[in-house]
Amino acid sequence: MIATVAEKINLLEMNGISKAFPGVQALDDVTLHIRAGTVHALMGENGAGKSTLMKCLFGIYAPDAGEIRMNGEKLHLPDSKAALQSGISMIHQELHPVPYRSVMENIWLGRFPLRGFWPFYFVDGKRMRRDTEKLFKELDMDIDPETITGKLSVSKIQSLEIAKAVSHNAKIIVMDEPTSSLTGNEVEHLFRIIAELKQRGVAIIYISHKMEEILRISDEVTIMRDGKKIGTWDAKELTTDLIISRMVGRDLTQRYPERSNVPGEVVLQVDGFTSSFPKSFRNVSFELRRGEILGVGGLVGAQRTELIEALYGIRSLASGTMKLHGKPIRIRRPVDAIRHKMALLTEERRVTGIFPVLSMLENTVIANQKRYQTSYLLLEESRRRKDTDDSIERLRVKTPSAKTQIRYLSGGNQQKVLLARWLLTEPDILLLDEPTRGIDVGAKFEIYTIIAELAAQGKSIVMISSEMPELLGMSDRIMVMSEGRLTGILDGNTATEEEIMKHAAQHTA
């Protein structure tokens, strides 16, 4: 590895940053010091506050308290533009280039070099090309500036984003899970670019879950947990085990309801589930029992959502079989799954869950319309109304009325409506994908209580969760996935966070 030109003084100081959202203290007095020409890894479980901290740095969130200083000077960052101008760039996990335009147009977007005189300004294509070539040469990148961006591989687009950051004269580049969609060779290329950036004195804040990667390229590691900074260490002093124990070492502070469910006979048997996409899940087999809560743990990229959506017929399978009550079944579309008494609460509530402009009532009964149909093909309004009112009462949904558009309800109440939607279909198997994501603490407990009640009634529940305490507090068994593979099924009563984390990190080299 190339030696760093690290200086003693801090390039960036984030001092005492705090940020609260309704119901959550996302950041609590966090201090982060970054030196020029170093790679500084930022680690922590999902929800530890890494992204919130970076969003404060990038001007997306305004911190409630604390200050940000660059080279000793206090920065005021009202928006991302201000952050860019101060020399802070961010390479997002998901890249958003303009796909149909050329590479160089993407790099200089919003600041095209112009020539001509008022009012006849034209984009100076030649200069843009020259500047782009120069930039790519410095970074040892081999891309034709006039290539249509959409034709490039993910890795090339990513290096493009990095080049763009450099062209902004970035002194600090934040990389959020930059290797999550790269192959081995592409990762090497990225690391070469990072080494080049370090030599130029650029500091890199590197967010990743991949231990080996972190230990290999970072100079310093800061670990966060529950919105607090645990500490900063020299990467040389750390090992994978040390990182894991510092990431998870926490008491179970959140409370979970008493569960009285008793897992019974096997209801669903899944054998050799393999996605038709090579980088997704493969060869996953498990069984689900009556009245059981089966937690599914793993890190970002473990392909848990993909697996569960394949069960429900949204994603396609290359191979694999499933048996329901011992009988083989095939599910190709959500309609099939619903017929087999399955229900899916999706992870992205706004994208695949709610109908924002429809009323709470319509949102509640939508999956159950068949049952309200009379022989004249008309819907029986009184029963739709009654089921909605019952749901409001049963799940304690707080809504001004059943006619209120669902977009005006809080996240927790929207989630309850979605749960109600599926409960009306009287499912035997509930697939819950991050059921408490983005919900405040009080509503979380209510959702946990509902889940526990359902299991006690004999319903089988698969619950994906990225929150360790939630998995440990709610599951009878915990199935852990890593990079598309099943790496272990643990007993929910005896498992520890360290165990889950070890299994989750097994294939994330």
């Binding site: 429900y312 949204i314 959500p334 109908f355 999956a367």
Partner: protein
Amino acid sequence: MNVSIQRTKAFVTDYAIYIVLAVLIIGITLSDPSFLSLSTLTNILHQNSTKAIIALGAAFVLITGGVDLSAGRVVGLSAVVSASMVQLADYPRKFFPELDTLPVIIPVLLAIAAGLLVGLINGLIVSKLHVPPFITTLGTMVAVLGINSLYFDMPPNSSQPIGGLRPEFTKWGSGTIEIGSFNLPYLVIIAIVVAIVCWVIFNKTRLGKNMYAIGGNVQAAHVSGINVSRNLLWIYSIAGALYGLAGVLEAAKSGGASNNYGNMYELDAIAACVVGGVSTTGGVGTVPGVMVGVMIFGVINYGLTFIGVNPYWQLIIKGLIIVAAVAFDIRKYLAKK
């Protein structure tokens, strides 16, 4: 005080289109009090009945988040198809000289079926080939004009306007029922019946609920077990059938047909829908809203001509109302976010 201002604001926002309609009527009446009469009402209703039926068809598609540009040309197709088969036996330039006198219902059903077929094709292209509705219906709009013109150009007709329609047919377009001293046009009754049927479909059937759901969030609709493509097939087909019916009635009303019938009607229909509160992004819209939207344009057309406003000025006023109505309506969604 503050609360009452807020309430007034909410009232104005919620009932904006009704207020616009009322203001128009009051304004025109102030300018010429004789505007306010039963015959004005009958005339406006009669003039706008077919437009209402087309607008309802367009509303089905708009609420799913699509748009149907083929409406006008389908009206033209079904007008020509129906007219070509209901000419008087002794009419000199008959479209089908050898054709016996058919029961009126047969050409009517054939013409509606032609509309339905175009709608079905639209639905298939949108739901199975995933071509955006705008492009799909742009394509069928152009192609349907071609098909209609080929048919219209067949010898011996050779693109002559079709005339000499039988009174059993034309009475549906121009006949009235006497209620006391009041003559209620059949057309108005048909439009009201269609509106009621549409209201029932929108509000009381699974198809209607699914239509709102698809327009509201197509991915969530899929996850909720709604068969999106089958529902879209139904919706585009119903829309096509409604344009077909409107075409038949246009032919009956005018006592003839040519391949240019219905030209640009889709734009009037879409304008009436959006002014009536149908969201072009889908998921929102009501039958009464669409009806008021149609009536606003009906009152503008009739009323402004009645008080002698220059027709070119009428176009400018219509254009302003379309944009203003949507700019106002969209505030409902922006402000509360």
